[in-house]
């Protein structure tokens, strides 16, 4: 069984030749390598970190931020084998069909294909994240076992379901590096290098083809990799950094002829306290508040706007979750008593809960990652993030929760209180999903996308991007399951290319 190779031990100045280079050992890079096992070509995967966290390596991620407060760039991801799967929560849910559509009411929206294009890959992606059988909204087995979902009036929102990456012994979801290291070591056509940082992508003089990757280690070693094709799988933040910093042939960076690389940065705002939910009779199925296990899977319910309602009202994706139980204050008790009384409902058994609500931001070219002047320990320019949330984003979040309140009242199930009345109030409790998306967006048209529908960088014949960096619109679902489906599709494409 070949062990992983420490890039620090590679002879300085070496040129490693391979058919396909995968840059980055996170969920995307590891899954791509697994999917290419046994392919009739050589694959080299190179990862910046080792098998464990290392502070010096992690510091390579540091950057500067402006605008709306965001997680520091060195804290919002992890730079060692397994990448962000080393700190993910295991939440999985496929994107909705509406997430792929182009909408007149949403600038820059739309994927170059519908969900049906990646549908065939969800089952394997589900297997990679070890989330059990692919059930999600086909939820009858769960509701039969644990009780009916909340009754809502006809309208926009419905109960939907997350599944969770395997909680081994109730502790952790799948950490891709740890979980798949042995599998990767058994792949004959794969070589994995750890502690090697790709600091530059070098193109032919005409910029049409990638010729080599410059690799540096923190120990001072430098060598190159010469692949026939390469896939950048370094996440939604580091991918644009590498493309922008590789500017010796293309002065604005690779794939950036139309100034798109690094723009449209997105994450999911997931404030944990956005509303108070009152259930008049106090009866709520346990799967709303806590992860439950049934039918071989871990799952939890959320409340989401349906596709048709989103189309009709021009609204983004959102997923509201029921959190901790709370006590009502005086005005809350008065509102409850008067409303329940008017509806003729006995609310003496009522219970109240905090509602969290994650949502999708609208694509915004000004929410942007660009190169800063400061350099890291390897001499690579750091990133600067310009972060923002618009009033329209806040309005869409409000409208979604207002509809939930209406539906609860219409069904005589309960009522809600919205906790934030302005964008600034909302921002004061903001938390982020650490789901980095959009910075190398996918579009048929090179004027609107960095990569095409095959995730190949426009204008460069042998360079691809894998991961949520390519998401042109984002949905509200956690990206991992969806990006893995895209990666598996890319694996099929690459196999065909090498045939």
């Amino acid at each position: 069984m070949p062990a992983f190779i420490d890039a620090r031990s590679v002879t300085k100045g070496t040129a490693l030749e391979t058919d396909l280079a995968i840059i980055g050992g996170g969920p995307a890079g590891i899954s791509l390598a697994l999917a290419l096992a046994g392919a009739p070509f050589r694959v080299l995967l190179i990862e910046s970190g080792g098998m464990q966290f290392d502070a010096a390596t992690q510091r390579l991620y540091a950057g500067v931020e402006n605008g709306v407060a965001y997680v520091p760039l060195e804290n919002t991801r992890l730079r060692y084998f397994g990448g962000c799967s080393n700190h993910w929560g295991g939440w999985c849910r496929p994107l909705d069909p509406v997430d792929f559509e182009k909408h007149d009411w949403l600038s820059w929206s739309g994927w170059p294909f519908s969900r049906s294009e990646i549908e065939p890959y969800f089952a394997r992606a589900q297997s990679l994240v070890e989330a059990g059988p692919f059930i999600y909204d086909d939820s009858k087995p769960w509701t039969k076992a644990l009780g009916a979902p909340l009754r809502l009036g006809n309208g926009g929102l419905y109960t939907t379901y997350f599944q969770f990456s395997k909680q081994r012994d109730g502790v952790l979801p799948t950490h891709f590096g740890e979980r798949y290291a042995d599998d990767l070591k058994h792949i004959a056509n794969l070589t994995v290098y750890l502690h090697g940082n790709v600091t530059g992508l070098r193109l032919t003089h005409d910029g049409r083809s990638l010729t080599r990757l410059d690799v540096a280690t923190l120990s001072g070693n430098r060598f190159v990799v010469k692949p026939k094709m390469a896939v950048v799988a370094t996440g939604g933040i580091e991918t644009p950094r590498l493309l922008l910093a590789s500017n010796d042939v293309m002065p604005t960076g690779i794939g950036n002829a139309h100034d798109l690389v690094g723009r449209f940065f997105a994450d999911h705002p997931i404030p944990g306290q956005t509303a108070t939910l009152v259930v008049f009779d106090g009866r709520i199925a346990p799967y709303y508040q806590l992860i439950q296990t049934a039918n071989g899977s871990n799952f939890r319910a959320a409340l989401a706007p349906g596709d048709s309602w989103r189309r009709r009202h021009g609204l983004s994706g959102a997923l509201a979750t029921v959190e901790g139980e709370v006590q009502l204050d005086g005005i809350g008790l008065a509102a409850l008593a008067e409303t329940a009384g008017a509806l003729g409902i006995d609310a003496s058994g009522m219970r109240a809960f905090t509602l969290g609500c994650g949502m999708e931001l609208a694509p915004d070219p000004d929410r942007r990652l660009s190169l800063a002047s400061e350099k890291d320990a390897l001499g690579m320019r750091r990133l600067k993030l310009e972060m923002s949330i618009s009033d329209d984003d806040f309005a869409r979040y409000r409208k979604t929760l207002e509809e939930l309140g209406r539906q609860l009242l219409a069904a005589r199930t309960g009522m809600i209180r919205l906790l934030h009345h302005s964008r600034s109030e909302w921002l004061s409790v903001m938390q982020w999903g650490n789901h980095h998306m959009g910075t190398a967006r996918m579009h048929h048209d090179r004027r609107q996308g960095v990569v095409d529908a095959d995730m190949k960088v426009h204008g460069v014949g042998n360079l691809y991007v894998a991961g949520s960096a390519v998401f042109p619109t984002y949905g509200a679902s956690n990206p991992t399951l969806n990006l893995l489906a895209l990666v598996l599709r890319l694996a099929d494409h690459l196999r065909a290319k090498f045939r």
Binding site: G153, A275, T276, G330, I331, G332, L333, A334, A335, A337, E338, T339, A340, G341, A342, L343, G344, E402, E403, G405, R406, L409, A410, M415, I416, R417, L418, L419, H421
Partner: protein, 132 residues
């Protein structure tokens, strides 16, 4: 047995009895509002909106909510609001008006609480009717 011997027993009985009476009065004071709500409810002078207030569950709660709405609403006129609400009710029950509000997404927000519009209007009228 002398008088001096009997006095402590009489005093003890008197104190025990007094304590019992006090306890009974306390229980009565606590339980009476629950047993006789009409007797102990706050009395309001007659208003021109009592037909609407008859629809309220608890006027004190309504005034509390309504005060919030009146503070955030501008230029609210109690008479025109009441006239509009009566027109909306149109002889139907409050439940019918609520259902109509919800069907047409007519909601009012009081410190973030989303209420059917007619419930909010009832509360606002109750609060405004309290004003001198």
């Amino acid at each position: 047995m002398s008088v001096a011997d009997k006095t402590p027993i009489v005093r003890r009985s008197f104190i025990s009895g007094l304590m019992g009476v006090v306890a009974l009065m306390g229980i009565a004071a606590l339980e009476a509002p629950r047993l006789f709500p009409g007797l102990f409810a706050k009395r309001y002078p007659p208003t021109a909106f009592d037909d609407l207030f008859a629809l309220l569950t608890d006027r004190e709660n309504a005034i509390r909510i309504g005060t919030v709405l009146v503070q955030t609403g501008r230029g609210l006129d109690v008479r025109s609001m009441a006239a509009e609400l009566r027109r909306k009710l149109g002889g139907h029950s409050l439940a019918v008006a609520i259902a109509d509000d919800l069907a047409h997404s007519r909601l009012i927000e009081a410190q973030g609480w989303l209420l059917p519009e007619c419930v909010g209007e009832l509360c606002a009228i109750a609060a405004m009717a309290e004003r001198p």
